[in-house]
């Protein structure tokens, strides 16, 4: 898993997010939030995510709702979109999915 800042406030995450990488993802996402008031996170490069990744996203969203940095998920893959739907979390997130 890698998370890089492509332009100020916009980040791109790539690789697999599971129980092995979720701690790194959480740290990188928290660090991204410290750099901007709202982080746009491009998820198109994530090749796999399970509920370990969901946990990190829910925590980040809860920080946003508590007045922390905002979070926008951009271009999640079909697998991530389905995972969010199955977990009943689609409406928890602001999802930007440009055509």
């Amino acid at each position: 898993m890698q998370l890089v800042e492509v332009v100020p406030g916009e980040f791109q995450v790539s690789g697999e997010i599971d129980a092995h990488s979720s701690e790194s993802f959480a740290g990188a996402l928290a660090a991204a939030g410290e750099k901007s008031e709202a982080a746009i996170v491009d998820m198109s490069g994530v090749t796999f995510m399970d509920s370990s990744g969901l946990r990190v996203l829910v925590e980040a969203q809860q920080r946003a709702e508590a007045g922390g940095p905002g979070l926008v998920l951009r271009s999640p893959s079909r697998q991530i979109t389905r995972l969010l739907e199955l977990a009943g979390l689609t409406e928890n997130f602001e999802i930007d999915a440009p055509a």
Binding site: E16, A19, F48, D50, L86
Partner: protein
């Protein structure tokens, strides 16, 4: 990771995987399960779903049991995909699988698993307990 019985076609027997109960093994386990499903004629939807199922169940073994080893079997019969993940020492884990409140941070893995397959149960092979997931081959989702 130790492996035996790699399938070469639809008629091939299931594949058995054994690996240390370590999250570092998850990526390779998913890759092996996906390869089996693809070789056995499963489409991307089945491969995506069983990849997610095995990841959730293997993570559960690693994080919530004392088992030092992950023992996994995936098999396609004439009408079902069957995935076994052992060793499970909490035989009650499937008794109350429910979607948690949206504000809850954890607890969605088993619900997601149950949503992706047709049946989830605990099986006892005499030496250990495994979670067995079954999914109809012809099921359209």
């Amino acid at each position: 990771m130790n492996e035996s019985g790699p399938p070469s076609n639809r008629a091939a027997p299931g594949v058995d995987l054994r690996a240390p109960a370590d999250t570092a093994q998850l990526s390779e386990i998913r890759r092996r399960v996906r390869a089996y499903v693809t070789d056995a004629g499963g489409g991307d939807d089945v491969a995506d779903d069983l990849e997610l199922v095995v990841s959730e169940l293997a993570t559960n073994v690693i994080e919530h049991t004392s088992s030092p080893t992950l023992t996994i079997r995936v098999e396609k019969t004439l009408d079902e995909w069957i995935l076994d993940v052992a060793d499970v020492d909490d035989l009650s884990i499937l008794e109350h699988v429910a979607l948690p409140d949206r504000s809850e941070v954890t607890g969605r893995g088993l619900f997601v698993v149950a949503s992706l397959v047709d049946d989830v149960r605990i099986i006892d092979d005499g030496a250990s307990h495994a979670v067995r997931c079954s999914r109809h081959v012809s099921l359209l989702r």
